[in-house]
Symmetry: C2
Subunit: 286 residues, 2 copies
Amino acid sequence: MQREHEPMEDSPVSVAVCQTFPRIGDVDRNRRRLLEEIAAAAAAGARIIVFPELATSGYVFASKEEARSLAEPADGPTVQAVAALTRELDVVAVLGLPEIGPAGSLHNSAVVVDRDGLRAIYRKTHLWDRETSMFTAGSEPPPVVDTSRGRVAVLVCYDLEFPEWVRLAALAGAEMLCVPANWPAGPRPAAERPAEMVRALAAASTNHMFVAVCDRVGKERGVDWVGGSLIADPDGYPLGLSDLTGQEQRLLASCRMEDARDKSVSARNDVLRDRRPELYHGLIGG
Amino acid sequence: MQREHEPMEDSPVSVAVCQTFPRIGDVDRNRRRLLEEIAAAAAAGARIIVFPELATSGYVFASKEEARSLAEPADGPTVQAVAALTRELDVVAVLGLPEIGPAGSLHNSAVVVDRDGLRAIYRKTHLWDRETSMFTAGSEPPPVVDTSRGRVAVLVCYDLEFPEWVRLAALAGAEMLCVPANWPAGPRPAAERPAEMVRALAAASTNHMFVAVCDRVGKERGVDWVGGSLIADPDGYPLGLSDLTGQEQRLLASCRMEDARDKSVSARNDVLRDRRPELYHGLIGG
């Protein structure tokens, strides 16, 4: 299952998480902002650049029709413009957008774009709340893409709450899991880090891989957001962490991708080899 | 799969996690300490009382022979003495001990004992480091026991790092996952909560159930411990939390067990029903 991997380089890769404020309905403006931010992050040294879920459209759609009116094919204008830039800069961009699939269905998707153009389309598989009445859920596992900057997997927001799904990415050899997200804010004890962030950190150490979550900010039609972006190392500790002030923010962290290839956690333990898959049958079936 | 559940009461259940310092090799002393602590916790109002992994024996065995010399059958003197007390006090005790199985094999086990006596024996399935050369790994999923104080599941320490295993307990209807642990201390960033605790909190919210981890303290043959006991609510926030000073400590929290029966996290979402088990086939197989 795991393909041979010939890393381009073993030097650290600088990763940027661009916690933006997409404006609902203004695709032109949001697309322009993505391109500006890719250029700025690359100028700051970033080689993998992650954006929020539905970064071109905003999130709180009034109707399925509105969502559809803001969607585009995966090879549409957004990816074309992003690909021109990722080719020029030799960077990897991961971003969420509403996608009109080949058969006309509407998806909450994320794309991986690098110097070779569009490398992967992922369609959110575990849908959140009103998304269930707007989007068609995907049914393909998180793609794991051998980019020039490392082996990158992608899933979207609520997908991350399913350790089964995260594990599939790790088993397929992901070194870094990129997670475009729109985390709606909820109540929490004052002294505690939001549970969404806690689960993301746990996903990193559980699978001994990097996790880069890009959340959004900016109240939209009454909905506010955690704004809890982070970059976690394979031990589950943050290399970059949102300041939780609800402002746009770019996190930048240096990631030794090879650290995620070694899954050992003691002289005799390895988080993937220690699994007992022959005992996990209760997890599957319809 | 999920049996009908007739809760005895829907009032909150007081749960104690007794973070003790077991003395290596001194089973008589450690057993006495367990009994004293059950009585004290019950007097403080606790109805579910959780102890560390290998609480009767200590952990850092010099050899398999030493481990075996400190082991006993699951219905041996420790469980007999504990059961006499849990019967008298109508409490549930969960504790770890080295167990000699029916066929003479040695297991790192945990037992659930309540007013009806020994209710379940669980044998650690994912073994840590030198345990692999001392203990025979279990091959049965975490038991979920309908006690008079709620539906309680148990697994041991490193088992908790496998979200697959935790999920099986949740799918079988666990309201509270009890985790006897001996977490060896490792390096971490000064401002961060130990990753072991982060994973335990994430396990709670991911499955919307209570998680009660009882870690140990007390340096033993050169090994120190996180001492990171906690009681997490179904949203993944701590109700009780070790102060991380490395001292013996009893955490006490009031848990509304029925909160863990409702798995909804939005008007349209439920953390178990939202799973896509038909897509999780990659998790199983040998």
